[in-house]
Subunit: 568 residues, 2 copies
Amino acid sequence: MGQKILIIGGVALGPKAASRAKRLDPDAEITLIDQDSIISYGGCGIPYYVCGDVAEPEGLRSTSFHSLRDADYFAREKGFAVRTSTRALKIDRAKKELHVKNLNNGQEDILAYDKLVLATGSRPFIPPIPGVEADGIFTVSDIHKAVEIKNRLSQGQVGKAVVLGGGAIGLEMAEAMADLWGIETTVVEMMDQILPRLIDKNIAKMAQKHLEEKGITVFTSERAESFCVEDGKVTAIKTDKRTIDTDLVILSVGVRPNSQLAKDAGLAIGSFGGIIVNRRLQTSDPHIYAGGDCVEMADLISGCNTYAPMGSLANRQGRVIGSNLAGKAESFDGVVGSFIIKLFDNCVAKTGLSLEAAKALGIDALASFVVQADKAHFYPDSSMLFMQMVVEKGTQRVLGVQGIGPNNCSLLARISAVAGILKYRPTVSDIANLEFPYAPPYAAAMDIINVLANTAQNILEGRNTAISQEEFLQRFSARESTDTLFVDVRAAAQGGPLMEKYAPHWLNIPNNQLRERMNELPQDKEIILVCNAGSRSYDAMCLLQKSNTKTLNLQGGIGGLKRAGIIL
Amino acid sequence: MGQKILIIGGVALGPKAASRAKRLDPDAEITLIDQDSIISYGGCGIPYYVCGDVAEPEGLRSTSFHSLRDADYFAREKGFAVRTSTRALKIDRAKKELHVKNLNNGQEDILAYDKLVLATGSRPFIPPIPGVEADGIFTVSDIHKAVEIKNRLSQGQVGKAVVLGGGAIGLEMAEAMADLWGIETTVVEMMDQILPRLIDKNIAKMAQKHLEEKGITVFTSERAESFCVEDGKVTAIKTDKRTIDTDLVILSVGVRPNSQLAKDAGLAIGSFGGIIVNRRLQTSDPHIYAGGDCVEMADLISGCNTYAPMGSLANRQGRVIGSNLAGKAESFDGVVGSFIIKLFDNCVAKTGLSLEAAKALGIDALASFVVQADKAHFYPDSSMLFMQMVVEKGTQRVLGVQGIGPNNCSLLARISAVAGILKYRPTVSDIANLEFPYAPPYAAAMDIINVLANTAQNILEGRNTAISQEEFLQRFSARESTDTLFVDVRAAAQGGPLMEKYAPHWLNIPNNQLRERMNELPQDKEIILVCNAGSRSYDAMCLLQKSNTKTLNLQGGIGGLKRAGIIL
């Protein structure tokens, strides 16, 4: 007789752990239960089902060779039993038994286990807003909801939609509805930026601008107060600033770990409400494993715990649990926080900490911001990448990198180059010399990822007194009442018009004339140097710094401002 | 008075080091000399100039803001002097003087230095083949040669071309000539694969097949013996196997470091003929720095020295030298060997060691080979990636990763995810849990880079007794005279025809029937399991291994064979 393994939850981690355990230990008797009738689906694919890229919901439930992953599939191909529509009621840790209930016929049952796996996932947070129970208000939490949303869209019941919450799922759903279905879509986000906590405000602004170009209305710093309901159906959402008519609402304001079953069994729960696990993914009861959306994880950058509900992490953790169920001693060390999202023709991605997240953790950090092409600059059809690297001041440790670029893998390549290294605590000099593969069709000889580190180093060492777009704009709007001089080192064709418009505060001295015209510049005034991307202005700064210690350099230059929708 | 810095060589590293040093130390008096009249160009871009992607040679010599990087540019914008057409004759280390000669007027001069930088680069190896001096035989070593080649192509003087050497430059030139200019192009490579020493034979075969699909003829294991010359002009090349008519020959059989000047000055030279430098990129004379194509470097994987002439490394090393010239103490630790090349609609890339390279270094290594889509398998328009990971057996240390995929950044993203980590000596479990960013349009939840590590681990632990394509084909051709049974676990539509064709050696039992039909399989015969990509056959192997210890699994499956042009 083999060991008895029970697994609660069958979306991502559960089937993975069961399959792996069965391969390593063919004698094990493994049963997976799930309260839903549908298991093993790619939840992250729901927006692509809604937008039509994936035609049928079965597309999210099939293997790459078109086998539908239902109970029969797992029994035949993977060798373990699945009980769907079966809810776990209680864990009796002393007896090593699980109490379950069949939701179809109400029958209760007790299942014995040697080892138990909690893969109970997460549930969407439902904000306590009056009217939130009305028809037409959806979370994006499972296939059933996805089918219902798509049915309403395809049946022409939806002309206008509101997405509450500007996080990843909300924005993917906004694109899905606006793009294929042409629905007038509004995103309402409580924080002062979209993708809050994931990326910094300057990158978020660029992403928001692109959404707006694609016809999506985005309201940030705006709080939903109530839903207007007629005949039980939602007709509008009232915020603290306006009323927005709508036929459908997507609630995407975060998820919470499903940890009640574990809590009731007396297992340790952390400050995020997730189950606490060790590196082998055992809970405080070594016979019970847990992973995926129901657990907290160590953040390998900060050392603190974090909550990172991601399908990819669930899959990787599922394999570790499967191995350990079979007697191995594998570990999952924690997360660095990698993230990527397609937004129409753009891609936004990050790994590690944003500047804001680092500061919130009490880390004294700064950011370098670089605008550079994704290929050798002489190679045709290149696109611009706008990237930011976050660095701890004292140690020069790289904490994270983020950016926005075209909808292809060019940004992913730069982000992934850093994702794997973060746990080794790299410094800027490690990234400065990172051996990013080079050929003109794919990268620059000095790639943006290297330049980000070089720029950060120059800032850290005081050589590049860089200012952010926000700091620049503050100074620019105050120009009439201050002494600050803006020196534009681009060619006359670019810098000239601004000099005309903003004289005497704006001066245009092209970089190749600067050495001979330095005497035109004051030595006692604050000078802000600008060019198109921030590198020629850095050159200029090195030249001027000796005679004027008040020079500042706009990171990312005028090109960076333009990308964020700011035209001077 | 600032320090006097002399730099010999003005292509990649020289201008970078000079610019950086001048920014950090504005008082330094910096002079760069180069024997050529043209400096500071993107040599790696020459094939893209030849093929027309870059219209004019000036495209390779300009900044992203269209300034031509000539002597005047560097004087005005970077603040250092450039003397072109000036050859370095001799270094007098005792007096700290450099003897130079103006190649235009023959005048000799002596320049004093406090610090000297050797950025003398490399020269193409000219094989000692009779006729090699004939007109029409070119190396791809500088802009002048590139212009001459392109002139001949554009003037219709070339109908047929031969590229001698199937390395990176050779293949890029072959594509350039065949693609835009429609020239009948043949590549002749002495080794038994293209891209030798860079990637392994199985990946090279796939790349070769693609070149052939695009009309390029490739002869491997073929040695050039002489050139046929008429009226001083090359008309054909004779190999040990045939005579190939040609109007133009590209010699691309490797480069050698230009280290004679250093050697004459008594500086240490290594076994590859490159200048020996420490991590601060100082030669054996601490007042003399060197970097780029003229030096040897530590290989961070093997610990041995290696020769890695790459424009990207030269740029990064140039910055380190520039910093150190200005009194900093930066270091460049060595190289891991990242490489990428565009071949028509494909991309081939690697970082670290190939299996063959590892074995040549005496490392006991094996390879996992995986075929997987570059996006979530349910997401439309995905492409297949074919990748291989090389792992040291005892330590489970990952030594390198390589692959072939579509001509976009999807392969680069996977290679770059590993490139930066290699110096930290990652094991397979580090890569198994590498936090590659996940969203369906860009990656799989369990991405190929994770699966490569998982597969390697299964092989290392004896769970997956994987065989390579080569081993499979040996057994398959010997099937009539051996007991080996081939069991195809794909659906009947795929596996059935092969069963009919190769019975009784080929059996088709779809994976979902295997558990109930196991009794049809012999327990004493060698069984080779195949599916389309190698994952279902691994599932089957886990099931069968208990009753039959002679099961083997074809890595990459039938799909992998097809990609290499092998149809059973």
